[in-house]
Symmetry: C4
Subunit: 189 residues, 4 copies
């Protein structure tokens, strides 16, 4: 389902109409906030997607709470094509850019927060996990996920300053988590 | 396929145009029926989705009727992005809100009804189920699914009164089925 | 992928605008060609979907041709949301209904034809199939799929007469293949 | 996810409005760039899809880089419904056709390039592959993927000449890779 939301993002990027004034190059350049917001959202959902797969590999049994946490996470992921289009539409507006940026970063924060809540629930219940997952790994996973919330808190806090700053913070977070330096040990496919 | 319908719901929530009058905050607040209908529909489809997975775990062999029941269920799930958008558009209209609410609750009732019909078909045919599923569990599953139809009947009946009431009933049903108190025993993932 | 195309169908059914003239009941009734075309297309894709699963269960090894046949089938399935919307838009137009109906039935014919071509390719190559599939079953599968092309040929031929007739034929075919009387032996899930 | 992008392509092909002037036949014929661009993009994504499956069959273990390469590939695939619609809209425009064609062929080149980068990464790391994949096969896979970049380089270079030429080159590449003569040995399904 994460795969579907990430693919729907593109539907919010417009194709300029041939009959509207200006050259195509100009009309495409005008749309840069759409591309920037698309790129940042794609990267962010992509990183959550990879982490979600990594999480599922640790789980042996799911209880009702995990299913509901997962549904909540998916609901927040599914909202992102909308908040991304909102950010792209208002990034350069004097009025509205701050609220749009707060909603944009807030939707990332909510997504990361629900992911953290689900991980926390799982890591506190070793009986739901594979027996190979020891207490150290459980603590480490929780710590890492909690740390991932911080930059989005900063991004939301930056919304009253500038929507560009918010977008830059979110982009930096997505790129950071994609870097090979953040590599974990090889995993079986 | 349920995953796809649940993700498409967001496409029916509009992004306010920057050039339309009013502040962004005002324009977003104006759209609250879209968010409410989105939330209720997401939760409702989500609960059906979880139940659908639980059902598939009990099944060993499918006959042609199960496939057709399943196709009917999917058809009714696939209609929900449309009935959700209809509900959001007419919730506050004096004329139209009653019909829109009846269609909205009716689409939930039809979805739950087709799910019940499929469960009933399966529970009457132990040869299609895993051998571990005894008569008591089969009766219990049928009873629980039949009970799930009642609130949607009430919601449809409330449509002549108020669309707000209908939305509230549907929201309450979705939230109730998501509560941990309705938890079943842990299931293997 | 068939699951995605079948779910996208609903995006072509409009929600009437509250500000347009007329009661909601009237506006919804006006749209009946959209519902009829939606229903027929959903059923038709659904039957192909079930048959596609049944086919995959017989296959042990795929060669390059099977992959390309499959891609062609998927391309034709993916076109159906478009041809369905075209049929719905022109069903009642004096001018255009015949061409739209020919395209609609023609897209079903092309889909069924590509499915038949893939089945034929497979049934002529026992080395690609499970060893339990004998010559009789192979001949029977080919015969049944070839017979399934006939009604769509009739539907295309009926396009110069009336778009309603075309829709009725396609509906009848979809309903016929969903009937329990066309049941095959139970299959493992 | 590739399945989703390939299915979304059709959403960019318009259904002509009944109330617009001209016969339906004329209006449909007018839209031929949409069909041509749809066909070429579907074929191109389809070939990448088949190759992607073939690649996954060789892999035993994935590292973080493979996941990120894969995410990059998916991002570029997900962009294609947009670049396809752009190509269809500007194919016949005097102004804009060259840029649109360069973007169209460029998006194919980027997709094929990211696929090549992922293959190259994998083929240089035998420890990630199945033990049956020897040095000769690894070298052959790299060589074949690198060769696949060339026609898209030519297509981008042809953009200043004519958008029709670009479309024809991309179509030829897609058709070539679908031909049975490019068949590899049968693969287990």
């Amino acid at each position: 389902m994460i795969a579907i939301a990430i693919t729907l993002l593109i539907l919010e990027v417009d194709v300029p109409k041939p009959e509207s004034p200006g050259t195509l190059a100009h009309k495409l350049a005008e749309q840069w906030p759409s591309y920037a917001a698309y790129f940042v959202s794609f990267l962010t959902i992509g990183v959550i997607w990879i982490n979600h797969h990594a999480m599922l590999r640790r789980v042996q049994v799911v209880d009702h709470s995990v299913l509901i946490f997962n549904l909540l996470l998916l609901m927040l992921v599914a909202v992102l094509p909308w908040s991304t289009a909102l950010m792209a539409a208002y990034l350069r507006e004097d009025a509205g850019q701050h609220l749009a940026a707060a909603i944009y970063a807030g939707s990332f924060l909510a997504m990361a927060g629900s992911f953290y809540a689900m991980q926390r629930h799982l890591m506190q219940r070793p009986e739901l996990l594979l027996p190979t997952i020891g207490p150290d790994e459980r603590a480490e996973v929780r710590r890492r996920n909690r740390a991932g919330l911080l930059p989005y808190l900063v991004a939301v806090a930056a919304a009253p300053l500038s929507s560009y700053l918010v977008l830059a913070i979110c982009a930096a977070v997505g790129i950071y988590y994609s870097l090979p330096s953040v590599t974990r040990a090889p995993q079986e496919s």
